[in-house]
Symmetry: C2
Subunit: 241 residues, 2 copies
Amino acid sequence: MKLYIVGFGGGSRDGMTFAAEKAIQKSDLIVGYTVYAELMKKLFPDKEFYSTEMRREKERVLYALRKAENKTVALVCSGDAEVYGMAGLAYELSWEFPTVELETVAGVTAALSGGALLGAPLTHDFAVISLSDLLTPFDKIENRLRAAAMADFTIVLYNPSSKKRADHLKKACGILLEYRSPDTVCGAVRNIGREGENGTVMTLAELRDYSADMFTTIFVGNSETKIIRGKMVTPRGYKDV
Amino acid sequence: MKLYIVGFGGGSRDGMTFAAEKAIQKSDLIVGYTVYAELMKKLFPDKEFYSTEMRREKERVLYALRKAENKTVALVCSGDAEVYGMAGLAYELSWEFPTVELETVAGVTAALSGGALLGAPLTHDFAVISLSDLLTPFDKIENRLRAAAMADFTIVLYNPSSKKRADHLKKACGILLEYRSPDTVCGAVRNIGREGENGTVMTLAELRDYSADMFTTIFVGNSETKIIRGKMVTPRGYKDV
C-alpha cells in the first residue's frame, strides 16, 4: 500500500497545501509526534491517529511503515516533510517494506512562513541551519555558520534553543558577529501559523541576548537586508535595474 | 487597500496553500509575469488579470501597488513569494504607497516541491543559490558556491541556465568538484508541479554535463546523501540513535 510523508505547514488549514489535505483525507491512519497529531486531530476529527513523543522517531516511522503494508498511512510533519522532518528516515527504513510505496508531500517550512510574517527576508540566496546538536556535532554546525556568514547568505536558524542547550543561539551569534556587523537586521518568529504567532525585528547584537524557545525560528539578514515599514526586507536588485 | 504578494507553488491547485487560494479569491485584480498569470487564469477564470513579460518586474510591481490604492490586488509568484520572487521588491517600492497594506503569503518553493519529487534530499542543513548573474555579480555567486561546498551543505541551485548563460551549471559544478566527490548524489527536476514534471538522479560528475533549462532546479547532495530505491535521500541521523 502507500505511505505519504506529509508536511502540513504551521498547523492551520490555511498553511496547508491542497495536496497535503488530500493525502491526509485519503489515508486510513495518521501517524505523528504527539503535539502535531493533536493539531491534525482538530482538522481531521474523524481519522484514526497514532502518536508518540519526541525522540521516538525511529519507532514512530517503523510503525507507520508496518501499517502501510495493509492500509494507506500519512506520516505527518510540521512545516515541510523533508526539512528536519521524517521523509529521509522513512526512506532509510523502507528497505524492509518493499511493498510500501512512499510519496513525499511538500509543505511550507518555517523559513518560508516565518519569512512571510517578517516581510521578505529570503528574496536572495539563503542557508538553513539547525542549531540542534542531538544528531550533529557542534563543530559541524559551527563550520556551517562560519561559511554562511562569510559568504553573506541570509541565514535561517531552526531549533535555536531547548532546555538542554539554552546558550546555542548566543554561541551562534558570537560566531556570526566575527563576520557580520552587529547592526545586521535580524528577526525572530514564534509559533508560526499557530495561536500566539508573532514576529520581532532586531539587530544581530540584540539577537545575541534574545531568549528563544523550541518554537522559535531565527532570521539573520545578509549585508543588504534592511527594515522597511517595520518589516525585514532583503533587496534582490530589481529596484535598480 | 491591500496588496497580497502570493506564492502559488508550481501552478496546480494541489501545490497551492489554502491561504494562497483565499488571497487570490479575495482580490479584485491578479498581477503577474505572463507565464504565471496564464497558469492562474486556468484556476481563477473569473478574475481580472494584468501581466507583463520577464525583466519588467519593477513596472509590474508598481502597477500592482498603484492599483492596490483602490482595490485588493494579488501579485502572484511561482513557488514562494519571497524566494527569488516579488515580495522584496514590493516592500522596496511601497514607500510611495503608504495607504497600501502589504501581506506576504508563503508558498512551496521549488527546493521543497522538487525535493519531494526526488525523495528526501533536504532533511538536513541546506543552501539555496541562484546561478543567475543578471542582478548578482558572478564572483559573489562563486563565493557562495565555495562556502556551501566547503561546509558540506546540501545545495539547491535555481536558474541553472538560460540562453545567455548556458555554461553556468558547468562552471558551478567545476567549483563544487574542487571540494566534493564526483560521486556526490545529485538530482535535477523539471517543470515541478506542471505538465511534463520529472526528476532525475545522477552524480556530480554527470551533472556537470547535464543540460538544464530555465525550468530546471538542481540538487547537490551533502557527503552523506545516498540513493535509496532510486530516490535521492539525505540521512539526518535518526536511524542510528
